[in-house]
């Protein structure tokens, strides 16, 4: 496009800078608070970013709460549900993308529309079934629940991605002597790898961050870290430094992970959104 005026750039940079501060300040506030003592929290605005950092809060929360245990739960549940939803979701997407059958489009729409099902509608009934099946406070229970939340997203995204791969690739493999499942394994899945990775990242982040069902379905054994955060608050309303430290332990893995995998995520997200 044509060159832009000086004023345009000034306005552009100014707004970006302003919004940048708005975006980063709360995160910075979380970071610095986690390295403070309780006293330093009360020290006033001027010393918000000017203080002697200490790891005291981290030491305290790890010693008094089973943080590591909950972190492991969060990880296991996230990875487990992501694996299941990817496996089931991708083969379902394959059927929707590669076969024509009566009711296919209605089915695809049904699966997508579950994305708008209010979680709160499912919360109580699922609590009741899990209670009957002895799945309360178990990691398996949470994995099942999160798998079902991720499935519509996985099916929807993967259907688009699979449709974008020419079916002739698999057909060529079948003519070459491969079975249908073999062609999927040898040709389709390797070609789809970047897309699968992008979808997987979103599933992991979603499960990692999920709160409502973790709150309802877990007590201690399977409790994930997000559920522990509000407990920290009621426990020590004055101890923002401890809550901040726990929050850091929870969000840092995701932030680091998403920076590393950023290329895939932006790509996956953009492609999914732009296709109808």
């Amino acid at each position: 496009m044509a060159p832009k005026s000086r004023l345009y750039w000034i306005v552009c940079y100014f707004i970006l800078a302003l919004y940048g501060v708005f975006t980063l300040l709360p995160i910075a506030y979380l970071v610095v608070s986690s390295f403070k003592t309780q006293l330093q929290i009360y020290a006033g605005v001027s010393s918000t970013f000017w203080f002697t950092p200490t790891l005291e809060s981290y030491r305290f929360i790890f010693e008094t709460k089973p943080i590591l245990h909950m972190l492991m739960n969060t990880l296991i549940v996230s990875v487990g549900s992501t694996v299941f939803s990817l496996v089931f979701g991708t083969i379902a997407a394959y059927a929707l993308a590669r076969y024509r059958f009566r009711g296919r489009d209605d089915l695809a729409f049904y699966i997508l529309s579950i994305r708008m099902f209010p979680p709160i509608v499912a919360a109580l009934p699922i609590f009741m079934i899990f209670n009957n099946l002895n799945l309360l406070d178990s990691k398996i229970g949470l994995i099942i629940a999160y798998t079902s939340f991720n499935l519509p997203f996985v099916v929807w995204m993967m259907t688009g991605f699979i449709k974008a791969v020419p079916v002739q690739l698999e057909e060529a493999a079948m003519v070459d002597g491969q079975s249908q499942l073999g062609a999927i394994r040898d040709i389709l899945l390797p070609v789809l790898r970047p897309s699968i990775l992008a979808v997987a990242i979103f599933c992991i982040i979603f499960s990692w961050n999920e709160f409502l069902f973790a709150l309802i379905l877990t007590k201690s054994q399977a409790k994930t870290l997000p559920v522990a955060i509000p407990e920290f608050i009621t426990w020590t309303e004055v101890g923002w430094n401890y809550v901040a430290a726990a929050g850091m332990v929870l969000v840092m893995p995701v932030l680091i992970f998403s920076f590393l995998a950023q290329r895939y995520m932006v790509r996956g997200m953009s492609m999914g959104a732009i296709k109808d």
Partner: protein, 300 residues
């Protein structure tokens, strides 16, 4: 063609798509159909966990109780509506504006962009916590800044008049990046020749944006707004739970929070079920109406 042998593929081959779909369908049916039926049962009976003596069919009583006898449902309805409309509008405008700037080439763009996306990766509970403390009247950063401006110990979340504003700010902070991401992806997918043609025709930068770029982005805008609307309606639970738990009083108690509290705090299961089911009805109407209104006649 009579008497001709009609070929049938082996059954297992014809059923293959069904095999492929069955695990997904089984899971999804069990987490939607069963809860639906169960909720319907709850909604039509009196179910109070703490008082098992009360039971039996009572649809009319339940409906009267929720929708007529107290204004709570309608208060929550209004709160939800205000919340959804405000956050989605603000996020859309901000996201579009930021995307328009990021659409430019400037040095450092690809470096700073991921930082702008950070909030949407964060755990909503942690986001709620951060804002709760930022707004804290005693030591929070924002209260501190207000104090420097002469307002003493003002807790945004503790005042009925501003609590919802605090929730809205937190939501806008977390989800504007999502809009930014989708809008930018949409812009980058556009062909540039129409912009060049408009430029040759003498259109101003703003005219090009309004008359060419926006209409071309309509499909992405519709999807982004719909997704955010559904999520704001269904899932703005975690932050509210952490920041105010519906208070002070009930000013931030959205329908989702109301349903949760009815079921899991007061154990009035039938109330919770009715509120939750009403949300399902609202969301269906909302997407149908908005989908049609915004998409207009199909253009492909």
């Amino acid at each position: 063609m009579s008497g001709e042998q009609v070929y049938r593929a082996p059954l297992h081959r014809r059923l293959r798509p069904l095999y492929f779909l069955s695990p997904t369908l089984l899971i999804l049916l069990s987490v939607t159909l069963f809860p639906l039926i169960y909720s319907l049962y709850l909604a039509t009976h009196t179910v109070i966990l703490t008082n098992p003596m009360l039971s039996g069919w009572s649809l009319q009583d339940n409906l009267r109780e929720v929708f007529l006898e107290s204004p709570e449902y309608w208060e929550s309805f209004a709160t939800t509506l205000i919340l959804v409309v405000t956050v989605v509008s603000i996020e859309f405008v901000l996201g579009l504006m930021l995307a328009y700037f990021f659409y430019n080439n400037f040095t450092g763009r690809d470096f700073i962009f991921p930082f702008f996306l950070m909030p949407m990766m964060l755990t909503p509970v942690v986001v709620g916590t951060i804002w709760r403390f930022l707004f804290n009247g005693e030591f929070g950063l924002i209260a501190g800044l207000l104090k420097a401006m002469g307002v003493v110990n003002y807790s945004i979340l503790n005042e009925p008049s501003t609590a919802l504003v605090g929730i809205i700010i937190a939501d806008v902070w977390q989800w504007t990046p999502f809009m930014l991401l989708l809008m930018l992806a949409g812009m980058r997918a556009l062909p540039t020749s129409p912009f060049e043609a408009a430029q040759v025709d003498g259109a101003s930068r703003f005219q090009i944006f309004r008359d060419i770029m926006l209409p071309m982005m309509k499909p992405v805008i519709v999807i982004a707004v719909l997704i955010r609307m559904i999520d704001a309606f269904n899932r703005t639970f975690d932050t509210i739970y952490i920041m105010t738990n519906g208070g002070p009083g009930r000013v931030t108690e959205t329908l989702a929070v109301m349903a949760f509290r009815s079921s899991f705090e007061y154990f009035f299961m039938h109330q919770g079920a009715i509120v939750a089911l009403s949300m399902l009805v609202i969301i269906i109407i909302m997407t149908k109406v908005l989908g049609r209104f915004m998409a207009g006649p199909r253009e492909d």
